[in-house]
Amino acid sequence: MVETTLPQYLLRNARTFPRRPALREKEKGIWQEWTWADYLAHVRAIALGLVSLGFQRGDKLALLSDNRPQLYAAMVAAQAVGGVPVPLYQDSIARELQYVIDHADARFVYAEDQEQVDKVLDLKANLPKVERVIYDDPKGMRHYTDPFLMSLERLEAQGRDLDREQPGRFETLVAAGRAEDLALVCYTSGTTGAPKGAMISQSNLVHAIQGILEVEHYAPTDEVLAYLPAAWVGDTFWSLAASLMVGFAVNCPERPETVLENLREIGPHHIVAPPRIWENLVSTVQVKLGDASWVKRRLAGWLMPIGEEVARCRMDKQPLSLRLRLLNAVGEHLVFGPLRDHLGFRRTRYAYTGGAPLGPEIFLFFRAIGINLKQVYGQTEIAVSCVQRDGDVKLGTVGRPFPNVEVRLTEAGELIARGPAMFLGYYKNPEATAATIKDGWLHSGDAAMFDANGHLVVIDRVKDVTALANGTKFAPQFIETKLKFSPYIKEAVAFGLGQDYVAVMINIDMENVGKWAERRQIAYTTYADLAQKPQVYDLIHGEVRRVNRDLPETTRIRKYVLLHKELDPDDDEITRTRKVRRALVARKYAEIVDTLFSDAGTAAVTTVVTYQDGRQATLKTEIRIETVETARDLVPA
């Protein structure tokens, strides 16, 4: 039998290597293991349990959970009976949850624990289509008597009963699965408008992974760490589809806070992370290095630039001088190797970054310490479509398309693609589907170009590429990414459409700036207070000047402001995957943006704060606008 759906791959794995590890989770301080046989047993029990509740082909199961073996088993179980998992962001607030669960027509909701169950119970009145909430961890729910609730344990017991009554039912259901079956509805937060549910078929998932496997080499003995939200489609690709198709083991961290520790324990062979995580790792290393002994600091200060030079030479395909080669070998033993080991990348063959551009400095940092970090490019709607090939990695590009994806540019410079991984459309949203798939091509909305070597370079969102009053084009994201390389800057939003210069709104990184302030004995109370300290302005001023040196003279940052508040997904300012909702931010902070383009030195801000009990208060603050020296000032005399 040729496998065409993920549940069919699970049956194959449980048949061919039943005793090999499939899933692990750290619990009670020990890595607990599920073999492929265990994985199948749970999927079988959950699938038949769902059948006993009346779950049918095409029904939706919404899932709210951290990365846990039970979550993945529930997703495959839903697919096994021809149903559709709809993973949701577990940190979503009530309003977002209600919209998505209701829009997806979910009949059942799987909730990990009391926290998630409470959220769904609060919304019960507004979720008429939901029939049952299945929960896993019963802690704190001893006195919950609502018949709306059912424990996973009981569901599995019902499933096992049904399995005894009708042996072979599960196999029949799985065998009925077709490649064209809907396999996943993935709601994309999007930087504009309400979330849209991308419909992804079994064939989409399988072809996406096959495309990757033609280029990259994953082994069944590999280990990966599943730590990114399951609602992000990338987690389904790697932790579910690729694991089932290749047979490698997926490890779930003990808690979200222990990811870095668990990463080190597992030492994954491949890892995907958005730029945010890579940036955080560099910040962590820099901060730790700052606290390290004098010897270590000097060694790193001496050898890191060597590593970066070597990485640069390799990317430019230039021969290494003997001196570089020797020093690099020293660096490998004294700094790079230990650093890789410390971060948990000792065994990593492939490390990917995607979702948003990663600052070249950060990219170089990881390549310098010998991690094969590569840029990938993809979209929920067409999976991963491009990757930088081993030995052919260039700064600033996203590599070349996978063999089974066709990529072209429209006359306007928009990237379009097609291939077997292209999604079926948006759930119950034909207008959005028609606007995205035109003549069989997926329109990405990204402005891109091919460089001389055929590498794809993504510039920015088509609608975000803007121009100053004098017509100079600039990509805000490019400037923002450069700023965000600083460990002290967490977010940045660049403005300048129709203006004379570029101005930026900056979010300081509370943790790192806080530590920096502590070391200098600068007392502060809150985020807003810290952001407005003159010393902090001085610190960021240096960072902005550094970025300006790398920018073309015409689009250098002229003014900036340190925002009094962190951009927060709960306030819709950034998406859960940490992409800034530019238009909303511009509207919300209009008074600040206006001031950035005036001669005023401070901006008055009024904020409405909603307390937990629903009371509202208005806070008035003044925040400082800083001007950066003009280009002429920067030229040394």
């Binding site: 750290k26 619990e27 009670k28 301080g29 802690k139 704190g140 001893r142 006195h143 003990e254 808690r255 806070e257 222990t258 520790e261 937990q612």
Partner: protein, 257 residues
Amino acid sequence: MSALLEIREVSKAFGGVQAVSRVTFDVAKGEIVSVIGPNGAGKTTLLNCVSGVFHPEVGHIVLDGEDITRLRSPQIAARGVARTFQNIALFRGMTVVDNLMLGRHLHMRNGVLRSMLYWGPGRREEVAHRKVVEDIVDFLEIEAIRKRPAGSLPYGLQKRVELGRALALHPKVLLLDEPMGGMNIEEKEDMARFILDVNDEWETTIILIEHDMGVVMDISRRVVVLDLGQKIAEGSPAEVKANPLVVKAYLGTKAMA
């Protein structure tokens, strides 16, 4: 329902100061009882009497039918009474897990020599206790700080670890002295949830001293109010809130007008 803990006419004086004076109340099995009162009302002294730090001059304390008034604190602990302190009392240089393991010492049976051997009963016992400790780590959601020295943790987490150490004893009665003192709202909410969960999961009887009235009213079944060493009220949170004597003790006489 018979009382698990009976406090009968308990009095304790320090020199001329009558810290606790003829206080009587019962605590039933599985209850959460709050002891409230203005500063210096004698709340902590009362807890110290129950846990055997002080011995009352007058009165009796009966746990599960046994008079424990004259017992020393290790003996009382061995009978299943655990406590936390107003000022955190953790071993700052030890890791969180080691602090919790210490909470198991009452249940450890092996002597020094046997514990020093890696194999055999010493190891089996260590594993068994570590399992209990890991259950508590999981329960209190402190996995991420398992191996951190207790002294390096933020205040709110230290309080949580202290609760964990008291829980490691698997107590029948848990005495909490201001478990939420100095916490922010979010930390208080977490702590309140843990206290309710402990009560729910292990049916642990809990007596707590707390200043945050919101928390007290939300989580306690009954409230006992002390003022100047005397019990001035006792009852459900709503009854106590409406009691004029309590309002007077907290707000002074003028507020009554």
